[in-house]
C-alpha cells in the first residue's frame, strides 16, 4: 500500500511541477491571467452600474468572473488536456510509465488550481477595490469551506471529463467551447440564480445544481452578500460534499473503463483527428 501511495504522490508532484515552474519562468502570464480577464469583468460590472442595480450585483459579476477562471481551467487544462497530451505525444508516455493516471490527473488539477488562484485573486481584489463592493461574509470559515468543497468537486468533475475526452478527437475543442456559454447561463454566473428561476422554471436551476459551480456560487453569494439563495445554504454545503466524493470516484471508474476502451479502439496514439 505504501509504495502505491508514494508513487501516486510522486506522480502528482511531478505533473504539478511544470505548471508551477511555468509561472516563474514565463512571466508574461501575469498580464494574460490578471489584466486581460479584468477588461470583460469591468465591462459586465458596468452593465449593472449603467442599469443602477444594487452594488451586490457587481459583486456577483466579480465572483462569477473568479469562478469562471476555475471553470475554464477545469475545462481546458484538465478536461481537454489529455487530448492535447495525445497530440504532443505525451499521452502514450503516461500510459507506458508505472505512475497511476489518477496521480497524473491530480497533479494537473493541483498545478492548474495554483495558477488559477492567482488569476481569481487578482480579479476579486481589483474588482472589489475598483467598484467598492462591500465584503461582509457571515463567516469566513464557512466561506472557506464552501470554496474548498466547490474546488474539490469541480476538479473531480474535470478529472471525469479528462477520462471521457480520451475517446474524443477534434470534437474535444468544440465540446469544451460548448461547455462555456450554456454553463455560464445555467449556473447564473453573472446574475442571481433566483432570477433564472423567476424567468424560466425552478427545474432549470435545480438541474444546474448538479454542476458544482452552481451550488458553490449560490452558497458563496449567500455567505458573502447575505443575499437570497436558490436553495438553503445548509442543503448546498452537503450537496457539494457529496459531489466532491462522487465525482472523484466516478473519475476513477471512468478512467479505468475509458482507458481500456481507448486502447481497444486504438485512440491513444491517434493525432490530428
Amino acid at each position: 500500500m505504501r509504495p502505491a501511495l508514494e508513487l501516486f504522490w510522486k506522480a502528482m508532484m511531478a505533473r504539478t511541477y511544470p505548471r508551477v515552474a511555468w509561472m516563474f519562468r514565463h512571466r508574461t502570464w501575469l498580464i494574460q491571467e490578471t489584466l486581460l480577464p479584468m477588461l470583460s469583468v469591468i465591462a459586465l460590472a458596468n452593465v449593472y452600474r449603467w442599469m443602477h442595480a444594487p452594488v451586490q450585483y457587481i459583486g456577483i459579476v466579480i465572483l462569477g468572473a473568479a469562478m469562471t477562471a476555475f471553470w475554464l481551467n477545469v475545462l481546458w487544462s484538465l478536461g481537454a488536456h489529455l487530448y492535447w497530451e495525445r497530440d504532443s505525444g505525451n499521452l502514450e508516455l503516461y500510459i507506458l510509465c508505472p505512475a497511476p493516471m489518477m496521480g497524473i490527473l491530480a497533479g494537473m488539477a493541483l498545478g492548474g488550481l495554483t495558477m488559477t488562484i492567482v488569476r481569481a485573486a487578482a480579479i476579486v481584489t481589483t474588482g472589489v477595490l475598483l467598484f467598492d463592493v462591500p465584503l461582509e461574509p457571515t463567516s469566513w470559515w464557512l466561506l472557506g469551506l464552501i470554496f474548498l468543497l466547490t474546488m474539490v468537486s469541480l476538479y473531480g468533475l474535470g478529472m471525469m471529463f479528462a477520462s471521457v475526452f480520451l475517446l474524443f478527437g477534434r470534437e474535444a475543442w468544440h465540446t469544451v467551447n460548448l461547455l462555456q456559454e450554456p454553463i455560464y447561463l445555467m449556473t447564473g454566473m453573472n446574475f442571481p440564480l433566483v432570477a433564472l428561476e423567476k424567468m424560466t422554471h425552478w427545474a432549470i436551476p435545480a438541474a444546474a445544481l448538479l454542476i458544482p459551480l452552481t451550488a458553490g456560487m449560490d452558497a458563496m453569494r449567500q455567505v458573502l452578500f447575505r443575499s437570497e439563495g436558490f436553495l438553503n445554504l445548509w442543503y448546498e454545503v452537503p450537496l457539494l460534499g457529496v459531489m466532491s466524493v462522487g465525482f472523484i470516484l466516478l473519475a476513477k471508474r471512468f478512467l479505468d473503463v475509458l482507458e481500456r476502451k481507448a486502447k481497444e479502439e486504438g485512440k491513444l496514439t491517434v493525432k490530428w483527428q
Binding site: 486581460l36 477588461l39 470583460s40 442595480a53 456559454e181 450554456p182 447561463l185 446574475f191
Partner: protein
C-alpha cells in the same frame, strides 16, 4: 488575381471543413445555434435580474441595445480572432503553415479565406441569435419593420467586412512573430474591444479619457451603425441618447467608419509585410513550441 481567387476559394473550403466536419451536420448546426444564443441570453438574464432588483426602473430600450450589440460583436470575435488562430493552429497543431508558405498559394489570401469561413459561421450565429431574440417582447418592440433599414445594414456589413479583415490581418501578423503568448493576444484585444466599443453599455458610461479611446476604434462606429440599421435610433428621452454618437446621423457614422477603416487597411498591410519578413528571417513560420 486568378491565384488569389483560387487560394481564397480553397482556404475558405478548408476553413469550413475544419470548423464543421468534426460532427454530424445536425450536431454542428445545434452547436452553431446554442453557443451564441446562450451568450446573449446571459445578458438578457442580467437585464431582467437588474429590472427585478430595481423594481422595473431599467429602461426597456436597454435590452435590445445589449442584445443586438452582443450578437454583432460575435462576428468581430469570429473573424478577427479566427484569423489569428489560423497561425497558431496551422503552425503548432497541424504543422502545415510552412507548407502553405512555400506553396504557390497567396499567403494573405489564405488567411482571408480561413477568416471568411469563420465570418459565415459568425453571420449565421448573429442572425439566429437576433431571430431568437424576437421571441422576447422587449426585443420585438425594437427590432421591427419601422426601425429596420436594409440599405444601411448592407453598407455597414460591407464596411464591417473590410474592417474585420484589416483587424484580423493585424492580429494574424502579430501572432506570426509570437509563440506562446499568441493566443492571449486575441483574448486581450477581445477584452479591449468589448470594453471600449460600447458593446454592452454606451460609451458615455466610461470616464471621459476612455471615451476618446473608444471613439478612435472603428468597431465603435460599426456597432453603432449595425444597431441603428437593425433597431433604429434610440428615443430622445432615453439615457441612450446621451451617448456621444447619438447626435451623429447614420451617414456621418458610415463616413467615419470608412475613414477609420481606410487607415486600418493601410496599417494592416504595412504591418503584415513587416511581420511576414521578420517571421521569415527569424524562422518563426515553422517554429513549434508545443503550445
Amino acid at each position: 488575381m486568378n491565384e488569389t481567387y483560387r487560394t481564397l476559394r480553397w482556404s475558405t473550403w478548408l476553413g469550413w471543413q475544419i470548423e464543421s466536419n468534426w460532427a454530424d451536420i445536425r450536431l454542428f448546426v445545434l452547436y452553431l445555434i446554442v453557443k451564441p444564443i446562450c451568450g446573449s441570453m446571459m445578458l438578457v438574464c442580467m437585464f431582467y435580474a437588474a429590472k427585478y432588483a430595481t423594481a422595473g426602473r431599467v429602461p426597456a430600450e436597454f435590452l435590445p441595445y445589449i442584445f443586438v450589440s452582443n450578437a454583432c460583436y460575435g462576428l468581430v470575435g469570429m473573424v478577427m480572432f479566427g484569423m489569428s488562430n489560423v497561425v497558431i493552429s496551422d503552425r503548432e497543431s497541424y504543422r502545415m503553415l510552412k507548407y502553405v508558405f512555400i506553396s504557390p498559394a497567396q499567403f494573405q489570401a489564405y488567411f482571408v479565406g480561413r477568416g471568411l469561413a469563420r465570418a459565415l459561421e459568425g453571420l449565421l450565429g448573429a442572425t439566429i441569435t437576433i431571430t431568437t431574440g424576437l421571441l422576447l417582447p422587449d426585443i420585438r418592440a425594437a427590432v421591427n419593420a419601422d426601425g429596420f433599414d436594409f440599405g444601411w445594414l448592407v453598407v455597414f456589413l460591407l464596411l464591417g467586412a473590410v474592417m474585420l479583415w484589416a483587424c484580423g490581418m493585424i492580429l494574424a501578423s502579430a501572432v506570426l512573430n509570437m509563440s506562446r503568448s499568441g493566443m492571449f493576444l486575441s483574448e486581450g484585444i477581445a477584452g479591449v474591444v468589448y470594453f471600449l466599443s460600447g458593446v454592452v453599455f454606451p460609451i458615455s458610461v466610461l470616464p471621459t479619457g476612455l471615451q476618446y479611446v473608444g471613439l478612435s476604434l472603428p468597431t465603435t462606429y460599426w456597432l453603432e451603425g449595425m444597431r441603428r440599421a437593425i433597431t433604429g435610433r434610440a428615443p430622445a428621452s432615453s439615457p441612450l441618447a446621451q451617448s456621444p454618437l447619438a447626435k451623429w446621423d447614420t451617414g456621418e457614422l458610415a463616413l467615419m467608419l470608412l475613414a477609420t477603416t481606410i487607415v486600418l487597411v493601410v496599417l494592416s498591410q504595412l504591418f503584415y509585410r513587416w511581420s511576414l519578413r521578420k517571421a521569415w528571417r527569424n524562422g518563426k513560420i515553422e517554429e513549434a513550441t508545443g503550445m
